[in-house]
């Protein structure tokens, strides 16, 4: 239905095409005839003045009267479809939702544009006059002037003629604004708290529209499940204005749905009601407002030396590693031994021997993952083995609620075959086996190893999780620590979008370690 409505709006100017094309031909013939007759004349400003008078009698408001009546049918159609879309989107009954005042005002607006002589003078006659005076004063060769006039006045395969352009933008903008007025009133009257920014994009789509339709760039921070919050509209407008100068200067929350983005914008802003899960995700986002971990207020990080392979020092002192991580590593006791090879070939952390093994081939991400284990398990460490086990259980039980919340949200978000869809989601990421190992590993933990064993995705597998029920929390902690330490913005955003509670748990845990 959105596409159907878009087509009505886009094609609305076709009501005028016969009239406008006739007008364009008449204007071209008259002007070109005059130019041919006057080529080479020394003083032809007087004859030009005569031509201007003829143009005035040719391009009149009256000629648009009949087509404007045809356009009124489009208003009725847009109203019907808009209501249907809003009814199905929000489970509303809009049968008695009266829009006659809004319709009348918009029709007046379009009438002012098309049936008002001053507007016609400014938009249609004045540009032509300017061209003609230029030909007369510069003595432009007739063939060059003809080509320029033909291209400007007439519609051809490449572009619309001067009058058709004006009429098209005006009719489309009027219908779009009428449609936007319906959306604005429904949003206000029914107190809808969300909206979707919809419509197709083309090569020339403005950057702010691209950002909002795709939820990309800085706009991503305001989007959840394809929806934005009404309460964020002031911030979104400020961002739109910052991103593109084409954004309406007068755009504000009171006319956001009406004006949309810029003059001639073909996108629609559909008001919608946020679901509980949307609100939970927005709240998670809100509490997780620290988009850039580097901005967490912590002391300036010292240079850290582990006294082992230099590469480990290079990893931790890396410029991109947040000071929060560096300070935590500096504050806590370091592993007794950090090395590249252990008795097994893989990478691991042993809390019994307090040894961290990180293979060279696995890179710095794995080092941070294992260091995350060290931090997590160190915080549970106590005087005796039993007390340490108790500490591990306490830490796991603290994370359990956040883990369950994220798991529940993921099931709601991805549906009955969440694992299949998550596999597709990860495979759509560039270098997912490299940068999304931690993400995939959390999904594996949430599925008790099914994601690795049965779906062939990165993870520890069923045997690992069967042995110790706390391991899913240990791995989730290590993966979130790794994401924070490696500080890859896209990965962090995906963590915040999908595991906001677990991510926050680890972030807050690290901050509390520093503050203790």
């Amino acid at each position: 239905m959105i596409k159907e409505k878009q087509d009505i709006i886009t094609n609305s100017y076709s009501n005028f095409s016969t009239t406008v094309n006739l007008l364009q031909s008449d204007v071209f013939n008259k002007i070109f005839g005059w130019l041919k007759a006057n080529t080479g004349a020394n003083s032809n400003l007087r004859t030009l003045s005569k031509l201007n008078k003829e143009l005035k009698s040719l391009i009149t408001a009256k000629m648009f009267q009949t087509p404007v009546k045809g356009l009124l049918k489009d208003f009725d159609q847009v109203e019907t479809i808009s209501k249907k879309i809003l009814e199905s989107e929000n489970d509303l009954d809009l049968k008695d939702f009266n829009l006659s005042a809004e319709k009348q005002l918009t029709i007046e607006e379009i009438s002012n544009g098309l049936l008002n002589d001053a507007m016609i003078e400014a938009n249609l006659r004045a540009p032509l006059k300017k061209m003609l005076y230029r030909y007369v004063t510069t003595g432009m060769p007739i063939d060059k002037a003809e080509a320029e006039l033909r291209s400007y006045i007439l519609t051809d395969k490449e572009s619309l003629g001067f009058a058709e352009r004006y009429v098209k933008v005006l009719t489309m903008e009027s219908l779009s604004r009428f449609d936007g007025t319906i959306n604005q009133r429904v949003a206000t009257d029914y107190k809808l708290d969300g909206f979707r920014f919809v419509g197709s994009n083309i090569k020339t789509t403005e950057p702010q529209c691209l950002g909002l339709t795709k939820a990309s760039g800085e706009f991503a921070q305001y989007e959840v499940n394809g929806k934005y919050r009404v309460e964020d509209i002031p911030k979104i407008i400020a961002l739109m204005k910052r991103v593109a100068k084409s954004t309406h200067k007068n755009l504000d929350p009171s006319n956001f749905f009406i004006l949309r983005s810029h003059w001639g914008c073909r996108h629609q802003i559909l008001p919608t009601r946020l679901l509980e899960k949307d609100k939970v995700e927005f709240e998670g986002r809100l509490s997780n407002d620290i988009e850039d971990v580097k901005e967490v207020e912590v002391p300036k990080a010292p240079i850290i030396k582990f006294g082992s392979d230099k590469r480990f020092d290079d990893y931790i002192n890396g410029e991109n590693v947040p000071d929060l991580i560096k300070n935590v590593v500096d504050k806590l006791p370091k592993p007794r031994e950090i090395k590249s090879k252990g008795k097994d070939k893989g990478s691991y952390y042993s809390s019994v021997t307090n040894t961290l093994v990180s293979r060279i081939e696995s890179g710095k991400d794995t080092f941070f993952h294992e260091y995350g284990h060290h931090v997590d398990l160190h915080m549970a460490k106590n005087n005796s083995i039993n007390e340490t086990k108790q500490g591990l259980n306490i830490r796991s039980s603290k994370m359990k609620d956040d883990f369950s919340k994220d798991l529940k949200n993921i099931n709601e978000k991805f549906g009955s075959d969440a694992l299949g869809k998550l596999k597709e989601f990860l495979k759509g990421k560039e270098d997912y086996r490299l940068y999304y190992r931690g993400f995939s590993d959390i999904i594996d933990a949430m599925s008790n190893g099914v994601f690795f064993d049965d779906y062939g995705m990165t993870g520890h597998g069923k045997r690992y999780y069967k042995k110790d029920l706390n391991r899913k929390y240990y791995e989730t902690y290590a993966n979130a620590f790794e994401a924070i330490a490696t500080n890859n913005k896209s990965v962090i955003k995906d963590f915040q979008d999908n595991f906001p509670n677990c991510y926050n748990f680890v972030l807050n845990d690290l901050k509390s370690i520093l503050n203790d």
Binding site: S347, T366, H373, G420, R437, S447, F451, D454, G461, R471
Partner: protein, 64 residues
Amino acid sequence: MINGISEKVEREGIYKQYFDKFGEEPITYGLYWNDLESFEKLLSEAIKTGVKYEEEEPGEGVVY
């Protein structure tokens, strides 16, 4: 537990070759969870030599 389909997803590549050769999955506790390329090389070697791939269980206090 996260939603997933109950049937086994069709095995692919080296994992299928391993299963076809030995009639069972490699025994792993995720030692190479973050380095699947190395893990897959080891599976390939196992297929060549005919010796099953098997990891020891991680010891007390060991996490991968």
